[in-house]
Symmetry: C2
Subunit: 274 residues, 2 copies
Amino acid sequence: MRICNSAREVRLALAGAPRPIGFVPTMGALHAGHAELVRRCRAECASVVVSIFVNPLQFEDASDLDRYPRDLEADTERLRDLGVDLLFVPSVAGMYPEENPFTIDPGPIGEIYEGATRPGHFSGVATVVTKLFHICSPHRAYFGQKDAQQLALIRSLVRDLDFDLEVVAVPTVRDPSGLALSSRNVRLDADQRERALGLSAGLMRARQAWEEGERDPARLAELARTTGLDYDYCACVDPDRFGTPAPEGPALIVAAVRLPGVRLIDNVALERAP
Amino acid sequence: MRICNSAREVRLALAGAPRPIGFVPTMGALHAGHAELVRRCRAECASVVVSIFVNPLQFEDASDLDRYPRDLEADTERLRDLGVDLLFVPSVAGMYPEENPFTIDPGPIGEIYEGATRPGHFSGVATVVTKLFHICSPHRAYFGQKDAQQLALIRSLVRDLDFDLEVVAVPTVRDPSGLALSSRNVRLDADQRERALGLSAGLMRARQAWEEGERDPARLAELARTTGLDYDYCACVDPDRFGTPAPEGPALIVAAVRLPGVRLIDNVALERAP
C-alpha cells in the first residue's frame, strides 16, 4: 500500500494505475462500516484508493472537530489488511492553502435536517469531495447509506456538476444490538449506549409498520420516535431530495438524537412494494 | 468537425481522441478574439474542443441575456475553418435539468468589481466552467485576458478545487483604434463607438505613466479615467485577487463603462519592471 500526503504524489502514483479506480473517502477512525465500503470497492475496482482527512470545512463546531477520534496507525494497518492500493492522507494546509477558497453551494438540500442543525456542513462535505474527486480521479466512489443525506447530496453533486463517475451506496453496518456503526460511538458510555439503541429500534418499528401497510409519512415518523430520546429531527422523506415522499415509496426515515456529548444519526429505507 | 449537443455524446467522442485535449469555452457570437484563443489552442493541443453556450446562470439581467448576440451558423463555419475537432452546443435544459442545481461559490473575488455590479455573475461562470471541464476533460483551457477578473477567477477555481488542468491566458485582441474586441460591440452605433475609444485610450495613458515610473495605484487609476465616460469602476489591482497590488507590480488597471444600451469592460497589464 502506497501512502501519499500530497495531491501531486497521488496523481503521479495513479497515472499508470489499473482502471477502474475505486475511491473511498473517510475521516479515519475506521470501523467495520468503513471496512465494508473498502471491501466492496476492492471487489469491484482494479485500483483502490482511500483517503483519510478530517475536513475542518464540514465541522461547524470546533469542539466536535477537536474531539473527532483519530488513530492513523490503526487505520493504516486496517487498510493494508483490506488490500488498499493507495492511502491519501493530506494535511489541512495542503488541502486549504488559501484563506477564502472557492466552495460548493449545495442549495436547498444543504439547509434541511443535518444542514439545519449544522450550517455549512454540507457545503464543506461537497467541497472536500469535489477536491478529492479531482485529485483521485475515481471511476467509482463508495459512500455509506448510514449518512443518507450526505449520500443524496453526493449524488446531486455528481449529477448537477457533471462529474464522470458512479456513486455506489453501501448498506449501513450495525452491531448485533442494532446500533449503526459510527466513529462517534466511542464517545458513548455503557448507559448512553443503552439509550442510543432507542434510535435504531424506533426506525425498525416504523419499517415494520411500513411493511404492514402504513403509508402516512407523519404517522411513520411518529412511530419511529422512541420516548425519552432527545430528537433533533425524525422525518419520513424521499431519498433524493429529502422532500415529501411519493405515497408508494421509496422513502427514508431519517433521525438524529442528542445524548450528552454526542449526537447520533441513523435512517432506514422504506422500499417501494414489489 | 464533430458537433455534439449532449455531455454523453462529447464523452463518447473524446474517449479515443488524441491527447492533450485543449478547450475553449465561448458564448458564441465569435470574433477575432475568440479566433485567437482557438488558434493558440490548435497550435498547442492534439484535440481542440470548443463550446458555445449562452449560460443563463451568469446573466443577472434578463434583457442582457435576451439581447446577447447569437449566430450559430456563422460561428460553426468559423470554427470549422479554424480546424476545431469538436464543437459542443448544449441546450439550457441539457445543462440545467434541475431546478436548484449545486453551484460554485467563488467567495470574495466574486463580489467585487464585475461581481459588485453583476451579483451572481461569477458564481454562474464558475459553475458552468466546472460543468464544462467535467464534460470535456481538457488538459488545457484557454481564456482571454480581456475578461481579466474572469481569468483570475478561473485560475482560483482550478487551484482551490484541484482541477488537473492548465489555464492558458491569451492576450486581448484590439481593433486598429484600440477598442478591445467584444461580442457586445455590435450594439455600438458609430457615435458610441467613438466615445468607447476613451476606455482603451485611458488605459494606455495609465500604462504609459507606469512605464515612466508612476507607481501610485490611485494616481494610475485616476489617469486611466477619460473625461465624459460613465465609469462603473476604474481601479489598479493585483492580477490574482484584485486587491491592492504590490508597489513594484505586477498590476492590472481594470475598468467598466456604461454607454446607452451597452456596458463595456477592458483592462491593461502593468508588468513588473525587468
